[in-house]
């Protein structure tokens, strides 16, 4: 139980640090930080699939993009919709989509699953491209952030810092919930399922149901990240739902390390900072990002979090006991 207190207190400290950032950083950096926070949720949700359940999906962007598009469409077509309702629309759409797609795909495993998720991602992309009367096609959709109405007071969202706090609080709660999820029996059974599904079945677990719940849950989280993404940029383009967005989250999660809970969070920081750095010096940043990814796959499959833990172990001797739930069960 002690371990849990450490994890929660680290999260609280990070949250408080985040709350002070608008005082220190300039607006350009604040934009980047908001982006990082949103992608953190996206990457953590992906890691629940890849790192915890061992399900390699190449279609996570379909939920991200769906959330983004549904939110944007709701804001554009329902006059006077509140911020919360717009997000709820996006969330509901991804939950339904996640459930239906999960029912279709989860009978397959390994390569089959990976292939089918990619195919479904391109289906979503094709629909978004062809249905341009609703999605805006290549032009994308522009939206204006509605104000946040809390009942007793209304907060204007035209100020970017206000939206930053909304994103910080929503993502913070979602991340704590994800961590809590990994500590529940359900969360642990997902890891056990990855290790030995046969045995779980013999013990009486309905592994298909667990997998479907996890798939829908992570899809919904990605959709929530997509909603925030649409609200942050006040613009949604086809790239939000393209396979490139899946590649992005894959690289984020993998560079950070899929073996730990916090790895992907680190990965998002590295990815976005690196992307900004590389795009300053070369137009071909995506190519170099790919090279880094291949290099990591071959030489450092555990990601940066693996490197950090190895270093920690070397210098501080005793075995690290922070949130390495995934590692311990292997």
């Amino acid at each position: 139980m002690k371990k849990n207190y450490v994890a929660y207190s680290v999260m609280v400290i990070l949250f408080l640090l985040g709350a002070f950032m608008p005082v220190i950083l300039k607006s350009y950096q604040m934009n980047m930080l908001t982006e990082i926070i949103i992608f953190t949720l996206y990457a953590v949700s992906y890691n629940l699939l890849l790192g915890y359940a061992g399900l390699l999906s190449f279609g996570h962007a379909m939920f991200f993009g769906l959330g983004a598009f549904v939110t944007a469409i709701a804001i554009n077509h329902i006059p006077g919709i509140s911020l919360i309702n717009a997000v709820l629309f996006g969330l509901a759409a991804t939950i339904v989509a996640g459930f239906i797609i999960g029912c279709l795909l989860l009978r397959h495993k390994g390569s089959y699953f990976a292939l089918l998720t990619l195919a479904f991602n391109s289906l979503f992309f094709v629909v978004a491209t062809k249905w341009s009367s609703v999605t805006g096609g290549d032009d994308g959709l522009s939206i204006t952030r509605p104000d946040l109405n809390l009942g007793f007071t209304s907060i204007s969202m035209t100020n970017a810092n206000h939206f930053y706090y909304v994103a910080l609080i929503v993502v913070g709660i979602a991340l704590v919930f994800c961590w809590y999820f990994t500590q529940t029996a359900m969360g642990k059974s997902v890891v056990l399922m990855r290790e030995n599904e046969e045995r779980m079945k013999f013990l009486g677990y309905n592994t298909n149901a667990s997998r479907l719940i996890l798939f829908t849950f992570t899809g919904a989280l990605a959709g929530l990240a997509g909603c925030l993404y649409a609200l942050h940029f006040q613009f949604v383009s086809l790239s939000a739902i393209s396979v490139d967005m899946t590649t992005a989250v894959l690289i984020m999660a993998f560079v950070g390390g899929t073996g730990t809970y916090w790895g992907p969070i680190l990965g998002v920081f590295v990815y976005i900072l690196l992307q900004n750095f590389l795009s300053d010096i070369t137009d071909r940043w995506a190519f170099f990002m790919g090279l880094i990814f291949i290099f990591m796959v071959i030489f450092i499959p555990g990601g940066l979090s693996q490197v950090i833990m190895n270093l920690y172990q070397r210098f501080f001797g005793k075995k690290t006991d922070d949130n390495t739930e995934v590692e311990e069960t292997t």
């Binding site: 009978r107 089959y112 195919a119 190519f287």
Partner: protein, 287 residues
Amino acid sequence: MSDIPVFFLHGLAYAGLLFLVSAGLTLVFGMMNVLNFAHAAMYMLGAYFSYSIMLHATGQFWLSLMLCPVILFVIGGLIERFLLRRVHALGHVQELLLTFGLAYIITEAVKWFWGNYPIAINIPGVLNTTIQIFGITYPVYRLFILCCAVIVGLVMAIILFKTRLGIILRAAVNDSETVNTLGVNVPLVFLGVFAFGAALSGFAGVIAGPLLTIYPGMAQEILIDAFVVIVVGGFGSLGGAVIAALFIGELQSFGVLLFPKLSMALVYMLMAAILVIKPSGLFGEKQ
């Protein structure tokens, strides 16, 4: 409806192309249990290489048709030997991640070297004519694609089912460890199969160039179609790939004629239907 024979032939030509791409994919998958996401990227490389060869050797289509598969054979061999084999021990997920990453890098490299815009390739002189067939005028080039696919398919079938090498290959699909203990150099066989698959997709890329315009998104486009072929035909089944490629080629072709708006979605609907009715595919064994 005098269009029907034309669209039927169009469908056959595209089916031929699809077969060339998915045959290599399904062979590698059946044998090595590696789903090669970079397969279609090699097809794209084939198309771009042939474009460059024809640019510098003034329209030597036949030269590029012979050279590109060789280049891709070498590239495929290098990828298998130095990248794929390295991560093989790390497990399945790593292999998929590697091929996915390779596809990404190749796409970015193509954008870098050849530019992110479509390029049209002229149909080579001899084939740039039309002939009268079944009372309609039809371009020879599409029939040429169909012939190529049929010849390649027949050669593959003969090798697989009539030669000693074919016996080894089919045995390695079933149980590579036992084949290895029988004194066959299985890693070498895998290397050969992977490189051959790459060469095949390179070949497909060369002949696809004049038919479709070439652009950096072409890899992903055909990759999805090839995946649908594999899902519908059954994983690792060459015969299934033939039938499914024909089916999807015709579906695409008549889809454009009958439901122009839905034509892209039809293929996905077919895939979803197969997933619901028969998840292992038409000719696949039960997983």
